[in-house]
Symmetry: C2
């Protein structure tokens, strides 16, 4: 992901009716996201229902993506689990597949753990993977993982492991935290985990953003990204923020899948794996109406 | 675990200095717990740092336990991960090893999920494992997993899958919840996840308890269990509750390991895997002093 800028899509994972991964839709959607102008894909993030997918399934999908012609230099798979051994296994596989990097959650089962212990965890991970090609993007998503990757921890890891610690995705939704990462941590790429602060983040040196809404609104976000620094950029920033809001309010993953199903005419896109719950059609139609009101000029 | 009563030990996992599993200590401790009178072992629970241990490591340890002569009819390994595929893999392995049952966490990454979706998850797990020998003990530990196994969900699962849903370990620490499980859910074994409510739970039909403190105080808890229904039982209940308290206050897993290291003279017992942090010797000595004051009659 070195030098990657712009919009990175944490692509959704489609399922068949029997809840197996719908590989046809997976590849089709991944390619469509790149065709739409996304600079890279971040499969197996929270949005990709990664933690509902088995280790072997993840490796199979990654191999199928590359087999289908997707450039691994444009893939940064999530590899973070609660334990070092299996996380290292997924990291090694991604490196063998020549992926641009890996997105790594902190171990998220035990709560209230110390930064010191998390530092030791990531140090041990880097030592265990033991490859000059390891490029870790830390994944800070406290609303879900509960265990944070603090600014202090990021700073310490970036200083101790230059190169191996390549960046961070900040999905805290807390602009103060993103701002601190952008201004205080040297030598790594700081991606906001949403398009909400895109323009402000770009001003402070962010290379772009990694946002779930890319699955639905890649063109809109990229238009804003390209207009950064102009009044049009500011107007588009407001628009993409308004477009994202209903997803945040209605359960982001099922809502995105419902809209994607509507956009593509493919019913399988509505399917989620438990413990998530699919959006009802009634809610989906309500969501569509809200999205249309955002895009059409209000009278 | 059918018919098992008494104290079940969620045994601690010892590590070597390089953080690999100390198999010699593991087997020695597991056998010691059974010799001390524990009726069964529940390896790979929260106390066993299960979520810090890789899938292959878990299977290797389970095989080593049985190889070493521990009766699989006395082993109920934890097999719950965040995804169905890998959880099913561990369940199938435990069944192949003829274990008495499996202890299964709800998928714990996504938060705020519905009982309906968790019901679907467990239904899909039972369908995927597809074995008449599957005996699931649900694992309710909301302080850590955050995702609960509610009384309503337990009731519904027990009614839908008699046999496959064999019981629940309630580590909520909330006696009202345990009482509701004991009085409202029919046909399954309800084990409190601590010795704190042992006497009261036995009165309501609990077969015993599954408690981390068994690793340190098996004899004390078993003495109380055997004296249930007598004034001595009530006195011992107070004593084992007081003995447990300092562990709860000082970080249960590192504290138990420190005391076990002290009891056995084995320094490796102090080691934890990150993201947990070992107890300092200063804290360990403070803990010992508190434990001694509980056991000696106060003047």
């Amino acid at each position: 992901m070195a030098g990657l800028t712009g919009l990175i899509c944490p692509n959704l994972t489609p399922f068949n009716n029997d809840l197996s991964i719908a590989m046809d839709l997976y590849i089709e959607h991944a390619k469509r996201m790149l065709d739409a102008g996304c600079s890279a894909l971040a499969p197996f993030g929270t949005t990709g229902e990664a933690l509902s997918i088995g280790i072997d399934e993840r490796m199979t999908v990654l191999e199928a993506m590359i087999e289908a012609g997707i450039d691994p230099a444009k893939i940064v798979p999530g590899t973070g689990l609660t334990n070092l051994q299996d996380t290292a296994k997924l990291c090694r596989h991604a490196i063998a597949m020549k992926c641009a990097g890996v997105m790594v959650l902190p171990p998220f089962y035990y709560k209230g753990v110390s930064d010191e212990a998390l530092f030791e965890y990531f140090s041990a991970l880097i030592g265990t993977v033991n490859s000059p090609d390891l490029r870790i993007y830390l994944y800070h998503i406290p609303p879900v993982a509960q265990v944070p990757v603090s600014v202090e921890l990021t700073k310490r890891l970036a200083a101790a492991f230059p190169g191996a610690i390549a960046g961070i995705k900040d999905s805290s939704g807390d602009w103060e935290n993103t701002k601190r990462l952008l201004t205080e941590v040297k030598g790594i790429a700081v991606f906001p985990g949403s398009e909400n602060p895109l323009i402000d983040a770009l001003k402070l040196g962010a290379p772009g953003c990694i946002s779930a809404t890319a699955n639905i609104n890649a063109e809109g976000i990229i238009r804003c990204y390209k207009a950064a620094g102009t009044p049009e950029g500011d107007r588009l920033q407001e628009q993409i923020r308004a477009y994202r809001l209903p997803f945040q309010e209605m359960g982001a993953i099922p809502a995105q899948k419902w809209v994607l199903s509507h956009q593509t005419g493919e019913p399988r896109w509505k399917i989620v794996r438990p413990p998530l719950t699919a959006l009802s059609d009634a809610k989906g139609k309500e969501l569509l109406a809200r999205l249309e009101s955002v895009l059409e000029p209000a009278e």
